[in-house]
């Protein structure tokens, strides 16, 4: 499947691979080469590929990207944009997928927390990462995962030792900035929480300004028995950026994970979360908000698999689409045979604010066990007229009333978040993103 997009990777990919951290190790070189070959062979998924039904890649296929940024270490980044209220623990900053020691704080690590860039881990001792880094993807729908496996040389490697509770949140930042040529960069994050360990991870995607670069990011997160992860994702990529993220989350017996995700920035953004509840009693809560405006295309795909007994999952996602924005949500819950006692719920509510905006939502249930409680709901609509009327009768302007209700609608996804200062910061960021009031006039 040839296109300018694929051709550029076919031509420059092998050269970029040769200088990646960790190259020279036979198993890694081989895995990277195989994934690049597979990508070049199948190309990008077309519109008839069910997984890409609502995200067209035609325009992207016509663009050629330069692989890797040689100047990543010296790009100007205002440290101010890295700040989040209530997040003052260790910080790892990557610019265009390259670790920036000057912007990171790794000095006062808590006991039991091991945190280092992947580029370092590959040089020091790559062997423990072999299992995750040699994973291959065999479907053409996995084009960006293949690209990432072929070309990612840096990212975060985080481990929490057994039984350790890490209090200060770990702050991971990926920064994209404008460049001379269209640039493609990749990052790979690996997280493992030992038995009964706990951690708060704050993942932050930020753009210094509008740009048209492509980034692929893959994450593997493993929670051993009874581990607990509090996970916050704030996506504020630069306007126009193409961002393809995928995380694999594995929960062993009694493990608990809770995600709060804000999808605010970027041009074409797709986030896939593949969660496997593999141990008895594992629990996953996901909450999120996506707010596509202007010409943004924001897609969220959840694939939650209940594979053991008495597992539970709860998903609550809100979307607000305005102007020419398009929000896509796919939320699949699978209960495997034998996963008795599963309790799964998913809700996706959306507000459509403009005649040019679009929401496509697809909640999916696949149930193969009978001792199950599973439900999902999805709605697309507008603000409640009676609520608007009530607020106006209390003296608020149409604009104020609408803004207030829209913000409250989004905030529902953050209500159960711990740490009030970070939550307030996030709420303010949503508020700033929310449309003003073109429709009310």
């Amino acid at each position: 499947m040839t296109s300018p997009f694929v051709d550029a990777f076919a031509e420059y990919g092998p050269g970029a691979q040769a200088v990646l951290p960790g190259s020279g190790q036979a198993w890694l070189d081989q895995a990277r080469r195989a994934q690049l070959d597979a990508f070049v062979h199948d190309g990008l998924p077309g519109p008839r590929n069910e997984a890409w039904k609502y995200t067209a890649l035609r325009a992207l296929a016509q663009r050629a990207f330069q692989s890797g940024d040689g100047g990543a270490l010296t790009r100007e980044v205002d440290p101010e944009i890295l700040q989040l209220r209530g997040v003052d623990g260790p910080r790892l900053v990557f610019v265009h997928g390259v670790f920036r020691p000057d912007l990171s704080h790794l000095d006062k690590l808590a006991d039991g927390l091991s945190l280092q860039p992947l580029s370092q881990a590959l040089v020091n001792d790559a062997e423990p990462l072999r299992f995750l880094l040699t994973r291959g993807w065999d479907r053409p729908a996995d084009a960006f995962a293949r690209l990432n496996a072929a070309l990612a040389g840096d990212g975060m490697v985080l481990r929490v030792a057994e039984g350790m509770r890490i209090d200060a949140p770990v702050h991971l930042v990926h920064v994209g900035t404008p460049t001379e040529n269209d640039l493609a960069w990749h990052a790979r994050n690996l997280v493992e929480l030992g038995e009964a360990a706990s951690l708060h991870l704050v993942e932050h995607h930020v753009g210094t300004a509008a740009h048209r670069n492509l980034s692929t990011q893959m994450g593997d997160i493993v929670l051993r028995a009874n581990a607990e992860l509090e996970w916050t994702v704030l996506q504020e990529a630069g306007e126009g950026a193409v961002l393809m993220r995928r995380e694999g989350l594995r929960l062993e017996a009694g493990a608990k994970a809770r995600l709060h995700a804000l999808e605010l920035g970027g041009g074409t953004v797709r986030h896939e979360l593949e969660a496997e509840l593999r141990g008895n009693g594992a629990r996953l809560d996901t909450r999120g908000v996506f707010v596509p405006c202007a010409r943004q295309h924001l897609e969220t795909r959840l694939d939650i698999r209940h594979m053991a007994k008495n597992t539970s999952s709860d998903a609550l996602w809100r979307g607000v689409a305005d102007q020419r924005g398009r929000g896509v949500f796919h939320g699949a819950i699978t209960v495997a045979e034998g996963a008795d006692g599963a309790d799964a719920a998913l809700s996706n509510k959306n507000l459509l604010l403009s005649p040019h905006a679009e929401i496509d939502t697809q909640p999916v249930l696949e149930i193969y066990a009978d001792e199950v409680m599973a439900s999902h709901g999805a709605t697309v609509g507008q603000l409640d007229e009676t609520a608007l009327f009530y607020l106006r009768s209390r003296g608020l302007s149409v604009k104020q009333a609408r803004t207030l209700l829209t913000a409250a609608f989004c905030r529902a996804a953050l209500t159960d978040m711990d740490g009030s200062s970070l939550r307030e910061d996030l709420e303010a960021r949503i508020q700033a993103r929310l449309p003003g009031d073109e429709t009310a006039a």
């Binding site: 459509l352 496509d360 149930i367 009978d370 599973a374 999805a378 697309v380 507008q382």
Partner: protein
């Protein structure tokens, strides 16, 4: 959950009656021994021509079929649904099988045929009069007799077989055939367009409310045949009709193909209510044999204020793959879909609906109830699409699945695509098994397990059953009981 409650389920499984019911045979699985006149197996342009010639069709119809056939050749068999389907050899199917002694009127109908319909409970003769239902019975591939022809004619209603309609009302057929489901719409619709043998044609003229409920009974009888019927129902301005369709097939080891196309058209202020009770042979408990039921059903609400309502009770077929749909083109038009789909043993169903909102203030409602038992797989797949201009569109969807047994699957795949900010689209779905609390309550009131399950399932399906016409509601309820009893546990 307490151990005691688990015991109830276990008892259910071990119950001897249940075991007996499990092995109950398919009630409608008899073969009627009458001579049939069929075309040799195989499919090519000559077969299509021969079929058309056998039916004495005009040249435009033959050409229409050939166009569809040529288009079909260019299409691949779709595989996107979550279905396990043994490859179909389209060359091994006979595309036409007619009872040999072609009847001139109802009185000439082969008594064996009448007997067959009696066994099925089709109210063909006096029973029809009693029930007040006009029946068009399609046996294998041709329509054998239409009752109540005269009474309907007085009201101006045309109710006849498709072959007759092509001969006697070609202008109507030409105007409407293939306008809702184009010949190239999908693989099986293209195949049907090329080789459809018969079906029903209904035309309700302006302002007429059809005086009685119309009904068709389909039965596949001969081996190695496919049934490809084509139904076209047109309701002109202000007209209304309620149409019922029932299906059965005898037991056979090989998979038989049923690929029908149903097209509904409603003009201004017209309404069509289309009800189906489908009980094709589902195959045996190991999944041998059974009907492949691949049907394209679509209604087009062309006029303002028109309404199309689909109600289906699907208990049969080895594989059911169909999505009765509504295109809501007229302003304020209404689409409805009520469905009960039950799968047992190795049955697979992938069914649902599509509601496409084009006109302003259009409304649609979807109520789908899936029951899976045995090792079956039951999926709801639906699309609600609100186009840009569909100001004020409203949809409500509710899909519930009930699981009976450890090895079955129940799936829900709704798609919602909304392009208009004044639209309201809502979808809700739940999946669960019959709760132990419900069972315990019913048992404490003196019901045995079988009756308790049956009562709970009946309640589960009530929203759909109450949409069915009276006679069908009774039949559907019974059918469900029979199909289900065997599955408890």
């Amino acid at each position: 959950m307490t151990a005691e409650r688990t015991d109830i389920t276990a008892t259910l499984r071990d119950n001897a009656e249940v075991a007996e019911a499990l092995s109950r045979r398919y009630g409608a699985g008899f073969i009627t021994d009458i001579e049939t006149d069929s075309l040799p197996a195989g499919l090519n342009e000559d077969i299509v021509r021969a079929l058309s010639a056998l039916k004495e069709e005009p040249a435009w119809m033959t050409e229409w079929r050939l166009d569809a056939y040529r288009h079909w050749l260019t299409m691949p068999m779709p595989h996107w649904a979550k279905l396990k389907i043994a490859p179909i050899d389209f060359q091994a199917i006979s595309y036409y099988a007619a009872p040999k002694n072609r009847p001139k009127s109802l009185d000439d109908v082969d008594p064996k045929l009448i007997e067959a319909y009696d066994k099925l409970g089709v109210p063909l003769h006096e029973r029809a009069r009693l029930a007040g239902v006009a029946v068009d019975a399609v046996f294998d591939s041709v329509s054998v007799g239409t009752t109540f022809r005269k009474e309907l004619a007085e009201a101006g209603v045309i109710f006849c077989s498709m072959s007759e309609a092509i001969k006697e009302h070609p202008e109507l057929v030409r105007e409407y055939l293939g306008t809702v489901v184009p010949t190239g719409d999908n693989y099986f619709a293209a195949l049907n367009s090329a080789v459809f043998s018969d079906g029903s044609f209904v035309f309700i003229p302006k302002g007429v409310r059809c005086p009685m409920e119309l009904s068709t009974y389909f039965r596949i009888n001969a081996g190695h045949t496919g049934q490809f019927e084509r139904t076209l129902i047109i309701a002109e301005d202000g007209a209304s009709v309620s149409y019922l369709e029932g299906c059965t097939a005898p037991m056979r080891d090989e998979n038989q193909l049923h690929a029908a196309v149903v097209e509904l058209v409603t003009l201004e202020k017209a309404s069509i209510k289309y009800s189906t009770v489908q009980n094709w042979y589902p195959g045996d408990e190991n999944g041998v044999g059974g009907i492949y039921n691949f049907v394209t059903k679509r209604g087009d609400c062309r006029g303002d204020d028109s309404k199309i309502s689909w109600t289906q009770v699907e208990t049969g077929s080895a594989v059911t793959w169909k999505y009765p749909s509504c295109v809501l083109r007229g302003d304020r038009s209404v689409g409805e879909f009520y469905s009960v789909a039950l799968t047992n043993n190795m049955q697979q169903a992938d069914t649902g609906t599509k509601m496409v909102h084009v006109g302003k203030d259009t409304r649609s409602k979807i109520i789908s109830k899936g029951i899976s038992a045995g090792r079956s797989s039951n999926a709801y797949r639906g699309l609600v699409k609100v186009e840009k201009g569909a100001e004020g569109a409203r949809n409500y969807t509710q899909c519930d699945s009930l699981l009976i047994g450890k090895r079955c699957g129940a799936h829900t795949y709704p798609y919602m695509e909304v392009k208009n900010p004044s639209a309201i689209v809502e979808h809700e779905a739940t999946t669960s098994k019959i709760s132990d609390d419900q069972m315990f309550y019913c048992r404490s009131r003196g019901l045995d397990e079988e009756n308790a399950v049956s009562m709970i399932v009946d309640g589960f399906c009530k929203q759909v059953f109450r949409e069915l016409p009276m006679e069908f509601a009774v039949e559907a309820k019974k059918l469900l009981e029979v199909s289900l009893e065997g599955a408890v546990g």
